[in-house]
């Protein structure tokens, strides 16, 4: 619909009826109920999750494809662009709060629950428990080695920090209309992100097989893997966004004025970067 003169970019954009939302809902119904069946050892569960995930991917391709088409068709005005900016900011805020729940849990466990397990009253139950971080709790006793900050985590910190710089250079190249430089620096950013994920996977493998550090290694294992794992998933999502942006750059999308999708992906990437710095300090360094 249009609130402006014919031919001008409308200030509002209201999309046509769409079947993508209901497709996504069916996908999540299959995935959610399928996972419940799967985790309780019912045979069809993992198939439901697999089918649901395939439907979800189909929906994401279709929906984002539609949005990209609309954007290329110049259907989005300045006002719509501002809406996108608000919404991406609030989405990132919601992600911040998701991580806050897990960082809060880490804080509580380190400062309250573990010291309490070493208190006088708990000595009645577990007289030999030292209650020092890192810990797998008073009851589990499989020896493990904690993960320090030097080594892969430090390399990964440098990788992510560098990727933030390369992405900013790519953004400046985009604004300056320098497409060759944009492609090079965006590609480098993706490469750094994927390398980060590779190192992270290697670190996990190493921890499982040599350090005997698992998700089930008490609260230390729980907080370590859940925090770094969710961060890793977010890096993967951010890298996927950047790969899509790279594909769009190759197809000639974006110009110096219209490139909010690129900026949104960049914001997300910087957010993931900041979460990593917190992880590096609070999970790896202060072990």
């Amino acid at each position: 619909m249009s609130a402006a003169a014919p031919g001008a970019t409308p200030s509002y954009y209201i999309p046509q009826p769409s079947h993508w939302p209901i497709t996504g809902s069916i996908a999540l119904l299959l995935m959610g109920s399928g996972a419940a069946f799967w985790f309780n050892q019912y045979p069809a569960g993992h198939w439901m999750v697999a089918v649901g995930f395939a439907v979800l991917l189909y929906m994401l391709f279709g929906w984002f494809g539609t949005v990209i088409g609309e954007s290329q068709g110049r259907l989005y005005s300045k006002k719509v662009d501002l809406s996108f900016r608000w919404s991406m900011s609030w989405f990132i805020f919601s992600e911040v709060m998701f991580f806050a729940a897990f960082f809060g849990a880490l804080f509580y466990i380190r400062n309250i629950s573990v010291p309490d397990l070493g208190s006088l009253s708990s000595k009645l139950l577990w007289p030999n428990y030292a209650a020092q971080w890192p810990t797998e709790g008073p009851y589990l006793t499989a020896p493990f080695t904690p993960m320090g900050a030097i080594g892969i985590p430090l390399i990964n910190t440098l990788l992510l920090l560098t990727s933030g710089v390369t992405l900013t250079i790519a953004h400046h190249a985009l604004k300056a209309g320098n497409r060759g430089s944009l492609k090079l620096w965006l590609f480098l950013t993706i490469l750094l992100g994927v390398t980060f994920l590779g190192f992270q996977a290697y670190e996990y493998y190493h921890l499982h097989h040599e350090y005997n550090l698992k998700l089930s290694t008490g609260v230390y294992g729980s907080t370590f893997y859940m925090l770094t794992g969710f961060h890793g998933v977010h890096v993967a999502v951010g890298a996927t966004m950047l790969i899509v942006m790279f594909g769009r750059v190759l197809k000639g999308h974006f110009d110096a004025e219209h490139h909010f999708a690129f900026e949104a992906a960049a914001w997300y990437w910087h957010f993931v970067d900041v979460v990593w710095l917190l992880l590096f300090v609070l999970v790896y360094w202060m072990v």
Partner: protein, 532 residues
């Protein structure tokens, strides 16, 4: 609501987008229209209200007499758990979002919501979540039975019904976050020229702040239930002392979500009432700016009071004192609101149509619920009353007579705008008085039961509690039946059975939606109105 003429906006404008609108069921499945989506939210919420109501009446049937009467204790636990989850996530929250969808674009002079397609997804995520919640009754082990708060260790030990609940909460959380981002963006970016923030209707203000709360706390709930899931199936020890964790950790994370959630459920109701009372008192809202600041203060305070739900878990004394005083502080902005509503009515030319009746009923009963909240905020008193029927009475006064009554008020207030037909005033008044009286018969005795020591969430009780339980059960059935009057009113309006509504049926109303014809056109404001 098939009585709405959908092609209303055709006249004079080139609306080629109407040409390929699907019809029939697919119209509702694929719609990107804020009014269609608002209608679906409201009808879904009404449906869930009756599902949750049936669960509640089964609980009341079991509690009619002491001893085990109708259901097994395990099933009773599932009933209380799912009654809470369905009423909160299925009835109250979607109703509030339904009002937001219908009213915010009209009140700020926008054509629709900022993200119309995502708006559709926010709604259509709810039916899958409802299927999973209700379906969990039929899986082996039955539905989740650890209470709607899902406290470990019960929720860690329970069967797959709890997993379905966890995933349903994830999906409903995604729905709420998307809905809230949409609402915030709409309010911040789509207001008509000249409508500054401090000229917005109070309903829009309350939803702006509610949406902020939702975005801040729904991810925290997602984190809490995710930790529950990994504790259940993947060997983590977040809530397991043997592995170094702590069940109380769940309560902290849960109530960091849960207390703002309480205000998420009541703030939109405050907004609705703040629209209705000035209209029927024929005076502007008293202390508009202080109302805005009060809502904002309530929202901020809601983040630092969560542990008042946990006074009996063994917090240090400093913690008990802090959370007691912080909780009592909330009475200050809430009192500002109550006094402003009263001052709005003071010397107004009041009439008492159904929306006003429900609003005054809200004001009276919500304030009572607020007072019992103050009683419960006092730590030593709460230690006595924790998990008794006094708490049940308290939160039903604020959620049923608070949120729900305000939603009924809003429904009667805006039904003429939504359907183009005036509701039946006689039936509306019957609905109000029936609901008002039966509500109090149901929940007022629960104060006595709680003070006398009757615990909640238990299917049996000592004999001395019998009389008031019988009274409560009779009241509950009366309350349930009186809601059928509302369904009758609604059907009459939707069928166009009643007087035709003028654009502005309430002479005292002055918000923008009343400048549109009734029923409101498919797209609200094609050209933004200019606000002076």
């Amino acid at each position: 609501m098939s009585s709405i003429p959908h092609d209303h906006a055709h006249d004079g404008h080139g609306h080629d987008d109407h040409a390929h609108h699907p019809t029939g069921i697919m119209r509702w499945v694929t719609t990107t229209n804020h009014k269609d989506i608002g209608t679906m939210y409201l009808l879904f919420s009404l449906g869930m209200f009756f599902v949750g109501g049936v669960l509640a009446l089964t609980i009341r049937t079991e509690l009619f007499q002491p001893g085990m009467q109708v259901v097994h204790p395990e099933f009773f636990n599932s009933l209380t758990t799912l009654h809470g989850l369905i009423m909160i996530f299925g009835a109250i929250m979607p109703a509030a979002v339904g009002f937001a969808n219908w009213m915010i674009p009209m009140m700020i002079g926008a054509p629709d919501m900022a993200f119309a397609r995502m708006n559709n997804w926010s709604f259509w995520l709810l039916p899958p979540a409802a299927i999973m919640l209700i379906g969990s009754f039929f899986v082996p082990g039955g539905a989740a039975a650890g209470g709607w708060t899902l406290y470990p260790p019960l929720s860690v030990q329970a069967g797959m019904g709890t997993d379905l609940t966890i995933f349903a909460i994830h999906i409903m959380g995604a729905s709420s976050i998307m809905g809230s981002i949409n609402i915030i963006t709409t309010i911040l970016n789509m207001r008509a020229p000249g409508m500054t923030l401090m000229k917005m209707p109070m309903f829009v203000w309350t939803w702006l702040i509610t949406a902020y709360l939702l975005i801040a706390v729904m991810p925290v709930l997602a984190g809490a239930v995710t930790m529950l899931l990994t504790d259940r199936h993947f060997g983590t020890s977040f809530f397991n002392a043997a592995g170094g964790g702590d069940p109380v950790l769940f309560q902290h994370v849960f109530w960091f979500f849960g207390h703002p959630e309480v205000y998420i459920m009541i703030l939109p109701s405050f907004g609705i009432v703040s629209e209705i009372i000035p209209t029927f008192a024929r005076k502007p809202l008293f202390g508009y700016a202080s109302m805005v600041y009060a809502v904002a203060s309530i929202a901020i305070l809601s983040f630092i009071v969560w542990a008042h739900h946990m006074f009996t878990v063994g917090l240090p004394a400093a913690g008990l004192l802090f959370f007691m005083y912080a909780t009592m502080l909330i009475a200050v902005p809430t009192g500002v609101k109550v006094f402003n509503w009263l001052a709005t009515m003071w010397r107004g030319s009041m009439t008492f149509e159904t929306p006003m009746l429900f609003s005054v009923g809200f004001l009276f009963l919500f304030t009572m619920g607020g007072f019992t909240g103050l009683v419960l905020a006092i730590t030593p008193v709460d230690i006595q009353l924790q998990d008794t029927y006094y708490v049940v009475a308290h939160f039903h006064y604020v959620l049923v007579a608070g949120s729900l009554f305000a939603f009924f008020a809003g429904a009667y207030y805006w039904l003429p705008k939504w359907t183009g037909t005036m509701y039946d005033e006689t039936l509306g008044k019957w609905h109000f008085w029936a609901a008002m009286i039966t509500f109090n018969i149901t929940f007022f005795p629960m104060h006595f039961l709680g003070l006398a020591g009757m615990p909640r969430r238990i299917p049996d009780y000592a004999q001395q509690f019998t009389d008031w339980n019988m009274v409560a059960t009779v009241g509950a059935f009366g309350f349930g039946i009186s809601q059928l009057i509302f369904v009758w009113v609604l059907i009459k309006c939707m069928r166009g059975d009643g007087a035709k509504a003028p654009a502005k049926p309430w002479e005292g109303a002055d918000t923008l939606e009343w400048t549109l014809p009734s029923p409101a056109p498919y797209h609200s404001f094609e050209t933004p109105p200019v606000i002076k």
